[in-house]
Each structure stands twice: as structure tokens, then as C-alpha cells.
Amino acid sequence: MAKSITITNGVGTGSLINDTYSVTSEVSGYDATTINPNSVTVVEGTNSYAFTIGATGTLTLHVTEDGTTTGTPIVGATFIRTDSAGNEYGTSITTDTNGDAVFANVPYDATSAPTIYFKQTASDGNHEFDNTVQNTTMTTQTSTLQIINTPGATRTINLTDANYENLPIDTGTLTFTN
């Protein structure tokens, strides 16, 4: 007799007698054939069983100064997948010379796509960025999201002589490291 376990936020509970089971999955947005393992033996003394599943969508984050398809691309911005609480998963992706960073193997579904969470962890050093958790859903296998990284505001820096009040330094360089 088949038994179904409902998964919520990665966890489900239920009772099964000791036996060997074939495992199938129903997860919106994910490829059911990738459930791993697809067979499990429930044995005495082991009460927790872990499975993984994969998806085949591709999400491109296109990062520009103005958040448009034709804006000046930002190179070197980094992003990472998260959950809704901001916990990070997987490895960071980085924008290329076109301003594109690509999340591969993300879920999509035409009618009930799961939410994909991510956040930007850095820009190129010259642009502001939103480091909060963002989300999107994909109804097609590939999708592109426009991300804006505005140029850092122009600041005025004054350098004067410590011993002669307000005496400006003619020339020099200040280096700011964050």
C-alpha cells in the first residue's frame, strides 16, 4: 500500500513500518525524476531519512546601473540563494561582463511555481545595492530579472593640515577600504 508524506519547509513526518519502499515525489517546480534516493529501506533505530530533488530552470539576474535591459552592466556583483529568512544556500554567483549572473537548476512551473529567494551580497564597489532578501517565481524554464545597482553618490572629501587650521593640502590621495 502506498503512503504519502507531505513535506513543508523541507520536513515531513509520518509512520512507516520497517520495509523497503520505492519513492516518488510530487513537488511543484521540480523534476520528479531526480528524487534521490528513489528507494529507501526503513530500518529499526533510524527515524530520519533525507532526500534531495533537482530542478531545471535557469534564472538570470541582469544587473545594471538603471535596472533596464540596456543599462550599463555591473560586473562583479554577487548573489546567493536563500530561504525566506535569509539563510544562505549553495555557492555565490557573479555577474559577467554583460552584467549577468545565472542561477542554474532553479524551480519553475507554469501554474504553481514555488518562490525563489535570493539576495545580493556585493556589487562592484562603485555601486549601491539592495542586500535584503528578494524573491521571484518562474513560470517558464528560463527567466531574466532586472536588478538595479545605482552609482555611489559623489562625496566631497576635505584634507587639511593638522597643524595649520583649514590649510588645504594641495595634492594627495586618500584610499578608503571597506
Binding site: 509520518g14 513537488v27 534521490n36
Partner: protein, 114 residues
């Protein structure tokens, strides 16, 4: 009128996966309705024949039963139950994460064991 127990096999524990139960007398009058708790419920009935309709997420039971002096507990089984009713199943935890993003939990889904 006697206090009897209706015990349902195939439900969950405590308040999880319980059943909504209606009991009718043979005249078709509703004499009890309510939720089970921890697979069972107690009610007071006179001896006689009753019709039970119990609904849970794992199915529905429509069954007549006879209340007699000698029996205090009456058993009913959800045959398509998630929880195995034979008594030697135990609560297990199943984790489902994204294969490509280490430990990323899957928000919603179903695992089928056959």
C-alpha cells in the same frame, strides 16, 4: 445510555490528521458530531444500531455498528491511511532538500512511498 469509545486506525497522533465524525441513529437523526483526538473519541449512546460517517484527509468511513452491553470500544479503519494501522509503525522524519543548493529546504511537496 453508556459511555463508549470509538477508536480509529489510520489517523495521526494528538491533533494531527484527525477525523470528523458523525453518528446517526437508524431513524437518520444525528446523535453526535465532532473531531477525534489522538485517534479516538468518547460518546454516550444507548444500546442499538448506529450509522457512522467519519471523514479525514486519508478517506471516509461509512459503517454501521451495534452498541451492546459487552463492548466498550469500537474500532474503525481508514484503509488508505498515511499511518500504518498495524501498530508497529513509528513516527519518522523525512527531509527534502534541493539537490543543487546544499540544504535548501523544499517549501512544499509530497513524497510517496510504495
Amino acid at each position: 445510555m453508556r459511555r463508549i469509545r470509538l477508536k480509529f486506525l489510520g489517523l495521526g497522533y494528538d491533533r494531527t490528521n484527525q477525523a470528523y465524525v458523525r453518528v446517526y441513529n437508524m431513524k437518520g437523526c444525528l446523535v453526535y458530531r465532532g473531531w477525534t483526538h489522538n485517534n479516538q473519541l468518547y460518546l454516550c449512546l444507548n444500546n442499538g444500531c448506529y450509522k457512522l460517517i467519519a471523514t479525514s484527509c486519508t478517506g471516509i468511513i461509512k459503517q454501521c455498528f451495534m452498541v451492546t452491553n459487552n463492548i466498550n470500544t469500537y474500532y474503525f479503519t481508514f484503509t488508505n491511511a498515511l499511518y500504518n494501522p498495524n501498530g508497529n509503525a513509528r513516527n519518522l522524519t523525512f527531509l527534502l532538500t534541493d539537490y543543487n543548493y546544499n540544504n535548501l529546504p523544499i517549501g512544499k511537496g509530497i513524497l510517496n512511498f510504495g
